[in-house]
Symmetry: C2
Subunit: 276 residues, 2 copies
């Protein structure tokens, strides 16, 4: 998907919501798990059916699938396929935090872009350019590089000072030269929204993937205030607050209601900034 | 596996060789691939049968398996099982370069330590303590944290200066407080062997996983000179130079010969430092 197509989807759907499909089988309704042969995929299917008109992206986190072994990996493949069949306009992010030496990152890119039809992969920057560039070699595909993450551990290294700037700023500065704002995005946690002004000075045009709204406590209004651009430039993710909105068999309806709430808030923001 | 057990294995086998099982199906002998239903696992099986007495660790890199989809993941699971059945004294490293927020790293730890019976997972440090600590919560299991990697991109961030030291030194200093030398190792590329003296000042007792000997050009003698400890403290990895030592049907014999050559060199080093 191109940046322009993504922005068109945002305007049409009046939403910049990304839904994190982080399915932990231990958190699913017991009855549901008992009555289905493939609980992870079937749960996702219901969530996708209920929410795909309210969001512009889905973000399955690979860890949750890998924890179920080969069957989990298969559920991930089926989930990506199902999204692409049901809602081909939705951007699919493999939240995988990958990154390795060149010939190995090549393999990860092959896994997520050829093996699966994902649009983007999240990538850790620690290993540098040759670990990131293989993800940039696919047309209309994206690398989403970790800059400032939403967790407490973000303060261990990402905010260490290098020549009077934070490491995450050095990451933004260097990595933006490896690709363009048409194939690179950045992860910036909503829990650090006040940093977005600084970040926008360095990457004024890149899309940011913003986790941390919802269960992690970040504010959508703050994110928009400091991070929105003329092309929106934001994909705001919520995972647990949507997919586990109910722990009963009405989980899909509850997810829809929660997604609708966020979409409405986003619509108001897009209107306010004259983007819808 | 404990550190002591690992060192005992090194002394008994007179080897600190780790063999990287980075199987790219496109590089396997065509006839072999044609005549087996599960080429990746069957190739690994022959490599393992041929080499397990010469090495103390295997390191499958997850990227190569993921690039084959669910079938690849299954081949990875079967490979780890086969190692643990055939050679239970061999340390198994999932070279996965994982690392995410706490509840997600939990899932990765579950995938590799409970789902599979790996002894260690390689972990990227960028996201900080809560991304690493879930891997340290399993008894006799290890996190192997990226410090200074073997690739060109290592110079993009890992050698950026923070308070007059390199970022990788900051990583060593901070992360060693999160665990102990009984559950944490570090990745240090053999291509940067001259840095090992500095590294040993910070982590004198930790095991180091050293890739980059062989195809990537690092020297085993240099690594030993600057990095060896009283408990050896080194796992030196070779992947392509061993597993693709021949591109014909004699690949297992060729792998064995190549592994034997490295083991002999390691035996001489262990003797020289009075460790065997």
């Amino acid at each position: 998907m191109t940046k322009r197509e993504l922005f068109e989807n945002i305007k049409r759907k009046k939403s910049f919501l990304c839904i994190g499909l982080d399915i932990d089988v231990q958190k699913l309704p017991r009855n549901f798990v008992k009555n289905t042969a493939d609980p992870i995929f079937d749960y996702n299917k219901q969530i996708i059916d209920a929410t795909h008109q309210l969001c512009v992206a889905y973000k399955p986190n690979t860890a949750f699938y890998e924890s179920m072994g080969a069957a989990g990996w298969e559920a991930l493949e089926k989930t990506v396929d199902y999204i692409k069949q049901t809602a081909p306009d939705v951007f699919v992010i493999a939240d995988a935090k990958r990154g390795d030496i060149g010939n190995t990152s090549d393999m990860y890119a092959r896994a997520f872009f050829s093996g699966m039809n994902c649009d983007a992969v999240t990538v850790a920057p620690y290993m540098g350019e040759d670990s990131v560039s293989p993800f940039l070699a696919y047309e209309k595909k994206w690398a989403i590089i970790l800059a400032l993450t939403s967790n407490k551990g973000a303060y261990d290294f990402q905010t260490e000072k290098i020549n009077d700037e934070n490491l995450f700023e050095t990451v933004l500065r260097k990595t933006q030269k490896w690709g363009t704002d048409n194939n690179t995005m950045y992860v910036v946690g909503a829990t650090k929204a006040e940093m977005l002004t600084k970040i926008r000075e360095i990457v004024p045009h890149h899309f940011l993937l913003v986790p941390g709204v919802g269960a992690q406590g970040g504010s959508l209004q703050d994110v928009a205030k400091h991070g929105i651009t003329k092309e929106c430039g934001l994909l705001v993710n919520a995972s647990r607050s949507i997919i586990y909105a109910s722990s009963n068999d009405d989980f899909a309806d509850a997810a829809k209601a929660e997604a609708k709430k966020m979409q409405a808030e986003m619509e108001a923001i897009l209107n306010k900034y004259q983007l819808a």
